[in-house]
Symmetry: C2
Subunit: 392 residues, 2 copies
C-alpha cells in the first residue's frame, strides 16, 4: 500500500500529551517547562498541570493493562510486577515531596557566564503528594537479602532516544532500603493516576534527592555493585569548581548529584515590579527547601540588598501546625514563607533578598560567581529581586 | 580540728589535669584551649594532647573501679553498667570522628560585631580515633524496645556547677539507634584510656554532631519524649538571624544545633606571613569537614581574593586510597587538603581563600556578616588569609 507519511510519524514527540498553556516553555522537544513564578507558591501542593515538566526524551505511550515492571540483579532472577500487582500486593504509602531540577535557577548562573543547559528560571521546583508502594517493600518481596554486594539501585525509563537508549539513573541502595528513606514507586500524583508528563503509569519518587534520579515511566529496577552507567549519572548532573571548563573537566572527579543543597527564592514581588508607596508596607513571598530531608528552619529576608535582615514567617501544609515537624531527616516538602514589613522610606528602589537555613544549619552562599559551574547546576545563591517604589 | 584552708580546696578547678603548654588558652577556668594553627593539620589523627579542649565546668575526678553508668527511661527501670561491663559485654567499635565546637572560628564573627562566647580561632576542631561499645547495643541490652514514646536520648555528665547542676545535652533517638549512626560510648581515644580533659572514663561520641552533644564524663543516659532541658540544649548552641539581638531573641524559635554545616579553613600559611618570592610557588594547607556524615568532595582555593579558584588535593587517612570513600552519610572524619600553585606575579600581597563542598553539594557562604548571630556559633564563611610576598 502506498501511504503518505505525515509529519507526526516522523516526529518522536508527536504523541506527547497536551500541556497547560500558562507554562513557560524552555524546550518543546523534549518538553521542558515551568509554571509562572507568580503562581508557583499559590498552593502548598502544586496542581499537577502546573508542576514543572522536565523530560529528557519523548513521552512514551504505555498501556497500563500490559505494563510490567522488571526487577533485576536479585539472586532469584528477574521479577516482573504488573500495575495491578503494585497496587494490590503492597501497602500504599503517601508521601508529600518536593522535586527540584538540578538546573533550577540556571538563568542566574547564565548571567555570570554562559553555561550549557536549559535556561530555567526559579520555578523548576514543585511540591506534590505521591502514592504507591515503598521501594523497600517491593525489593524485599522480590527477594532482596542483606549481605550481598549490591550498593546501588538503577532505574531505567521507558523513554528512549533514537538509538534506543533509555533514560537512566541510580541511587545508593541504603536510601532505597531505609525505613526512613520513604522512596516509593508512585502510581498516583495528587490523588490521581500519574499524568503522562510525570511518568504514567509508574515513576520512582526519591524524596530529598535531585529530580533527575526520580525516573519516570519506570521500566526496570536493577540492583548493582556500581552506579548507573547512564550519561546522566556519569557525565551530567555533577558539580564542578568555577575554574573548571569543558576542556579540563573530568567527570569522574565529582560525585553524581544526589541530595541537593539548601535553596530558596522570592516568588513575589516580581523583578521590576512597582510597589505602591501609599500602601506603606510590602509583602514578600517565596519558597524554601533543602535536600536529604533537612527541614527549613529559617528564612531571612533583606529589603536593603543584604545590609539588614528580617525573619520570614514559615508556612507548612494548609491547616497543619508548624510545630508538628516531620521526624528528623524526613522533611521532604518545601516550606512556603512570607514577610510583611514597612516600606523603607527615602528610597525609590529596593533590592529584596532571601536566604534559607536548614536543620543542619547549612546556608545559601551570597553570590553566584563562586559556585558557577560549566553545567549550570546547583544554582542556590541568595535570590535577589529589584523593585521600584511608586512616587507621589 | 583547726586546719588552714588552702586555696585548692576552695577552687573547684584545682584538680584539673596538667595540659600541654603549647595550647592557646581561651579560658583557664573552665579550661578551653585550641592547638596552634600551624600544627593542627600536621596529622590526620590529632594527638590527644593537642586535641582542642572545651570544658564547661571543672574536670570531675572519677574512680574507674567504682564508676557506674546509669541508663534510665526504659520499661525495666534503671540499668547500671560498670566500666568493666562496657568493656566486656559489648563488641568494641572503633570510629574515627572529627569533633568541632559550635564556636569554632568565633573570632572572625567577633570582627563583624562583638558576640558572647569564647574567642575561638580556627582550631576548635580536631580528629581522633574513638573506641567503645555502640550506644545502640547498650540501649538494646538495657531493654530498649521500639514502639515506645521516647524520641530523644539525654546525656548527663559528672561535671557539675556550684549549684550541683550537671552538664547535659540530648540527641534524637533515631541517631542513637541507627546502625549507620556509629554513636559509641568511648572509653578510648587514639588507642589509650580517655584523657581526663576528654571525659575519662567514658564519653559519648556522636559522629557528625556538634561537639556540645558529645557529653564527657558520662554519668547518665535517659530516654525521653522531650529534648534535654539543660541550659546548653535550650538556651545556648542555637543559631539565629543576624537581626536578632539579646533583647529580641526567643530561644524556643530555633532548633538545638545537631549536625553542623560544611566547614573549612586554611592552616598554612598564617595570616601576615611573608612568602619568599624566589620560591616561585606557594603551598596552601588546611582542613575541611561537614556534619551529618556528609563527605567533603571538593575544596576550592583562591589566591586572588575570590576572583579565580583552583581545586585543592584532598587527603584522607595516611596510606588510604581516597577512592575508598566511606559509605554514603558516614564520612565522620575531616579531610586535610593542600594546593601548590605558582605565585602570582606583579603583586606584593595575596588574599588566600578556601571554601569546601560536601556530598550534598552544600557550600560555605561568602561572608560572615550575613550569618552573624548573637552567640557566635556556626561561623563557617569562606576562610581568608592575607600574606605578603617578599621583594628582591
Ligand atoms: Mo533535572
Ligand atoms: Mo562547643
Amino acid at each position: 500500500e502506498d501511504r503518505t507519511l505525515d509529519s507526526s510519524s516522523l516526529d518522536p514527540y508527536a504523541k506527547d500529551p497536551p500541556r497547560h498553556p500558562v507554562l513557560r516553555v524552555n524546550s518543546q522537544k523534549p518538553f521542558n517547562a515551568e509554571p509562572p513564578t507568580e503562581i508557583l507558591t499559590d498552593n502548598f501542593i502544586t496542581p499537577s498541570a502546573f508542576f514543572f515538566k522536565r523530560n529528557h526524551l519523548p513521552v512514551p505511550q504505555v498501556d497500563p493493562s500490559t505494563y510490567q515492571l522488571k526487577i533485576q540483579g536479585l539472586p532469584g532472577g528477574t521479577v516482573s510486577l504488573s500495575l495491578e500487582d503494585l497496587k494490590s500486593r503492597f501497602p500504599k504509602y503517601i508521601v508529600t515531596a518536593t522535586l527540584q531540577c538540578a538546573g533550577n535557577r540556571r538563568s542566574e548562573m547564565n548571567q555570570v557566564k554562559q553555561v550549557k543547559g536549559l535556561n530555567w528560571g526559579i520555578a523548576a521546583i514543585s511540591n506534590a503528594t505521591w502514592a504507591g508502594p515503598r521501594l523497600r517493600d517491593v525489593l524485599l518481596y522480590a527477594g532482596y537479602k542483606s549481605g550481598g554486594k549490591a550498593q546501588h539501585v538503577h532505574f531505567e525509563g521507558l523513554d528512549k532516544d533514537v538509538t534506543g537508549t533509555s533514560y537512566g539513573a541510580s541511587i545508593p541502595l541504603g536510601k532505597a532500603l531505609s525505613e526512613e528513606g520513604d522512596v516509593i514507586l508512585a502510581y498516583e500524583m495528587n490523588g490521581e493516576d500519574l499524568p503522562a508528563d510525570h511518568g504514567f503509569p509508574v515513576r520512582v519518587v526519591v524524596p530529598g534527592i535531585v529530580g533527575a534520579r526520580n525516573v519516570k515511566w519506570l521500566d526496570k529496577i536493577v540492583l548493582s555493585e556500581v552506579e548507573s552507567s547512564s550519561h546522566w549519572q556519569q557525565n551530567d548532573y555533577k558539580g564542578f569548581s568555577p575554574g573548571t571548563d569543558w576542556d579540563t573537566v573530568d567527570f569522574k572527579s565529582a560525585p553524581a548529584i544526589q541530595e541537593l543543597p539548601v535553596q530558596s527564592a522570592i516568588t513575589w514581588p516580581a523583578e521590576g515590579a512597582v510597589l505602591d508607596h501609599s500602601l506603606g508596607e510590602v509583602t514578600v513571598k517565596g519558597y524554601a527547601w533543602s535536600g536529604g530531608g533537612r527541614e527549613i528552619v529559617r528564612v531571612d529576608v533583606s529589603l536593603d540588598g543584604g545590609k539588614t535582615w528580617q525573619v520570614a514567617k514559615l508556612q507548612g501544609r494548609e491547616g497543619e501546625a508548624l510545630d508538628l515537624s516531620p521526624p528528623p531527616g524526613r522533611a521532604w516538602a518545601w516550606k512556603l514563607w512570607e514577610l510583611s514589613a514597612p516600606l523603607p522610606s527615602g528610597t525609590q528602589e529596593l533590592e529584596i533578598i532571601c536566604k534559607a537555613v536548614d536543620s543542619s544549619y547549612n546556608v545559601q552562599p551570597d553570590s553566584m560567581a563562586p559556585i558557577w559551574n560549566l553545567r549550570g547546576v546547583l544554582s542556590n545563591a541568595w535570590h535577589r529581586v529589584k523593585v521600584k517604589i511608586s512616587e507621589h
